[in-house]
Symmetry: C2
Subunit: 575 residues, 2 copies
């Protein structure tokens, strides 16, 4: 193929898994490696290394998709630093979202005294989470404008706005150079709490010289600017204002400013607010304690009170905006909620985004509510949600303020990272100084130049129920097979010495067919096969099992054109 001269082409190529392990870190150099969050949306965790010491920024979880069935959470892979936990100076949390703090308890289990740095609200959310894990983390509270030194890592914090209050960006000064990490960021110029992203501070850092700029990529593909959060208020006002019955607003349990606007609008129509959902109640409690959520005296009622009130005097604020099947909202949509039954004329507002992959679940909830007679207002029909992440237009402001020497797009899938890289180069960053380094790719900053030094292995670490890490790729691939086709088990007892079947084979399927006779035809085939193995003097139960598996597998493929898992159990019994 002919070469093409575009800016894209000069970006370093995607490192393959053949990329070698990195060499030892050069004296005086800074190393950066993400253990999660680059090449995906979630489980953000970046490790910085200087002179044998580590600094970690964020430690979040990823919520599983269809390819990890049954899994509750996915953690960053601590593997590459597992033997170096004592070398960690501190961990910085940029804000309190699950994809930035959710995995920290799993790290703290291994090193409980690790200093955890963050803003007041972020640390309060972390503490609540740690309580569930029976951990008491060592907290170092900071705020914007403050500096904090940890070994050779000299930190400075900057206010940024995002879809949760009290978010911070962090500058990391080291002898090898200065890094600026945006965390999750947007540039709402009229933030509800008046706390602007500190673009002036970023510009000052830029004048000082930023050697490596790590930038949130989530919305890099989206042109323009995010609408200010406060523009949702009037929309809520109009919807709640015309409602004559119950109003239910679903949103993320950490979106304090969204809830604030609901509280304010509800008050203006003389409605009380009832918070529904454990995490909603907990987080808003913390926010109120921190003075971040302003709750007028008597504005909140609990569920029992709310149920006693007339339908036009209450607004429910609930979790479940992503269609989670066990959430209160999903149960209402199915008509299965014990206390709240949707009535014709009720209004439901989904004041939230739709996380990719959740569309079917969310629309399932919408359809259920509509079917019961509710009017449902969602992102698709009214401006009831704005993103928490800078769009392309805002990212350009960031690049122009900071004028970084090297850029490393973070927080995003490949499409987001690539789009973010394009924006960097458009503002004048040299294309070969924009390093797309997915999870595990090691970037070294040496003499002011960032480049890929190698790759360490990082995998997905799955949490399923109480245990961490025992569910891996083999279990998941079995689940995918079982989930698609079920299984057929063939159980037979054979005489240990002779391999003679001493019971008729039991053939049964689960997840295979509703027809009780579906497998009848294969039984004689299995019996024939068992006679053959006996005649051939085969006594090894594994070999017998294998031949049974082959026989049944071929039969089911020919007869049904399906691929269930075939599970032979050949039991040797004393002869």
């Amino acid at each position: 193929m002919t070469a093409r001269a575009t800016s894209t082409e000069k970006h370093p190529l995607a490192p393959t898994s053949a990329t070698p392990a990195p060499p030892p870190l050069e004296q005086g150099a800074l190393r950066v490696v993400a253990l999660g969050g680059i090449g995906e949306v979630g489980r953000n965790m970046t490790v910085f290394e200087y002179d044998g010491r580590l600094l970690v920024v964020d430690c979040g979880v990823l919520f599983p998709e269809d390819d990890s069935p049954g899994v509750d959470l996915i953690l960053p892979d601590f593997g590459p630093i597992e033997n170096r936990l004592d070398e960690i100076e501190a961990i910085v949390l940029t804000h309190g979202h699950e994809d930035h703090i959710g995995a920290l308890p799993f790290l703290l289990r291994q090193r409980p005294e690790l200093p955890v740095i963050g803003s007041g609200f972020t640390l309060a959310l972390l503490s609540a989470k740690c309580q569930e894990h029976r951990l008491t983390p060592r907290l170092v509270e900071v705020e914007e404008g403050q500096r904090s030194r940890h070994g050779e890592f000299d930190l400075e914090f900057f206010a940024v706005n995002h879809s949760i209050p009290d978010a911070l960006a962090v500058a990391i000064r080291t002898p090898a150079g200065t890094v600026l990490h945006t965390g999750d960021i947007k540039l709402d110029q009229l933030p509800l709490d008046g706390r602007l992203t500190d673009l002036a501070g970023f510009a000052r850092m830029g004048s000082e010289g930023i050697d490596l700029f790590l930038v949130d990529s989530t919305n890099a593909e989206v042109p323009g600017f995010v609408t200010p959060e406060r523009e949702i208020g009037p929309v809520l006002d109009s919807v709640i204002g015309r409602a004559t019955q119950r109003v239910i607003v679903a949103c993320f349990a950490s979106h304090v400013h969204r809830v604030q606007q609901v509280l304010d609008v509800a008050a203006s129509y003389g409605r009380k607010v009832c918070l529904v959902g454990r995490s909603m109640v907990r987080n808003m409690g913390i926010a109120a304690e921190h003075g971040i959520l302003r709750v007028p005296e008597g504005a909140l009622v609990d569920l029992d009170e709310a149920l006693q009130m007339s339908s036009d005097s209450v607004v429910f604020v609930s979790t479940g905006s992503q269609g989670e099947p066990l959430s209160a909202l999903s149960r209402m949509a199915r008509g299965e909620h014990k206390q709240i039954s949707i009535q014709h004329g009720d209004t439901v507002i989904l004041a939230s985004s739709m996380i990719p992959g959740n569309e079917t679940a969310v629309f399932g909830v919408v359809n259920g509510l509509v079917r019961l007679g509710a009017e449902v207002v969602h992102q698709g029909s009214a401006k009831v949600h704005v993103s928490g992440h800078a769009s392309a237009g805002e990212l350009l402001y960031l690049y122009n303020a900071v004028r970084p020497a090297n850029v490393m797009p973070v927080h995003g899938e490949w499409r987001h990272l690539r789009a973010n890289a394009e924006l960097a180069t458009l503002t004048g960053v040299q294309a070969d100084r924009v390093v797309i380094a997915e999870d595990g790719v090691v970037v070294d900053l040496i003499d002011g130049v960032a480049s890929i030094a190698g790759r360490v292995e990082v995998g997905h670490v799955y949490v399923d129920g109480l245990s961490v890490g025992d569910v891996g790729e083999s279990t998941l691939s079995d689940r995918l097979v079982l989930g698609e086709g079920g299984f057929i088990s063939i159980t037979v007892a054979v005489e240990a010495g002779t391999g003679r079947a001493v019971s008729p084979p039991t053939v049964s399927g689960r997840g295979f067919s509703d027809d009780p006779k579906a497998l009848d035809e294969v039984v004689p085939l299995v019996e024939m096969e068992l006679s053959r193995t006996e005649a051939e003097g085969i006594t090894d139960t594994h070999r017998i099992a294998q031949t049974v598996r082959r026989t049944v597998g071929k039969w089911v493929a020919d007869t049904y054109r399906r691929r269930p898992m075939i599970v032979p159990n050949v039991l040797p019994v004393g002869s």
Copy 2:
């Protein structure tokens, strides 16, 4: 709750499953029931009954979502007419999409000589499909403007435009009144083939009097108007024009006008076109034969030729725009396609919508392509797709042209149906004459008034591999359990007379854990339990199995907090 006077409220409520079976159809009345397609997007099939005779409009499939794992297709439920197939006068196909014709072979298996009415291109697509099923349908070709009488059903056909050529709406005149069914419809005022939706014909029918208007609801929630298809041409021109390497365009295999525009643009840049994917090659062949796709002499090359050509002289047009894992495009994105390997600087255009539920798969493909260095242009980044369904603005034109007495929104989930109902009432249709009747709900048109007469049971009929209907809700619910948590099987042989275990219990899991020792602890518990049952003289293998299931289930819930399927196999062997 207080009553609220809005137009919504007056629509008949969602019929519950408690709605009784309908009474026998009154003499001189018309009955309508959907066996699929209302309350969902897909498997469209509507049955009209007059004087003991039936007319069917469309017979399509639904593609399964997460709640029907492993299923290939979902059919309309023929149950309510199963014993009345001889009473069907004819089946009308409005157009050739799978969700309108895909289930017909399954109906024709039961009544092969059923007359099938449709336009030339629609019937050609049906014939190709029937060939795969070794069926030769009895075809009745019609075109717009034509009338065709089948018993008491007097049909008239109208040109409509949609995302496939040669689509028709159908008016059904009966002694009980006249029905107009839009099929899938939009009102592109500059259609690529100049074939406008016959709004004038609709208006004429309206003047004659439409008693019941069945209207496509798919885009009723979307305000405004669909952009004309031809506006995609210049976008393709700009993307393909600046490409210096390979271009791959993915779109639906039936979207003749989209492919036409790619052919035209490719020709203007001196590129040949290579069609990739069996259905793409087949459908475009049929379209070319019917003069619907204009292929300039020598414009097409086959894959072998294309691979020999320089990368700037070919455009591939491929299926796989929905992220189907086995499609050519997905294999390219994973670097697993045998012949086409994506090179840095290649351009991929996803000229298609993203069907809800497919987002994760589609973005997976986009990320894979971007990671390999391709530039990917998709609906989110450029106007490379327009919908085939009328938006709200267009639907208003339809209602105003037809001025129907009664309306029945079709083709859509509840949210779409409700939005469509609102549009009807806004144009002046009486709210209580807008009947939202999901699948199975029977609507009778009596003396010019449509109303719900009852409900017949309709379920989902699943096709999995070669068989139809043997996979049902019980199998699917097992698959969901297995897919989330795998299973643990416990196999033990017991002496038939005594219940004494004659083999040590074998405990093994699939889809449960990667840890080979994960289940070790439960073995002694099972052995204890077996000793207990033996001591209690329990010899019934079902009872033994049940107690084993309980023991293991409790242990796994306590130890792992997981819910795998527990599968005990207790084999009686001769004492």
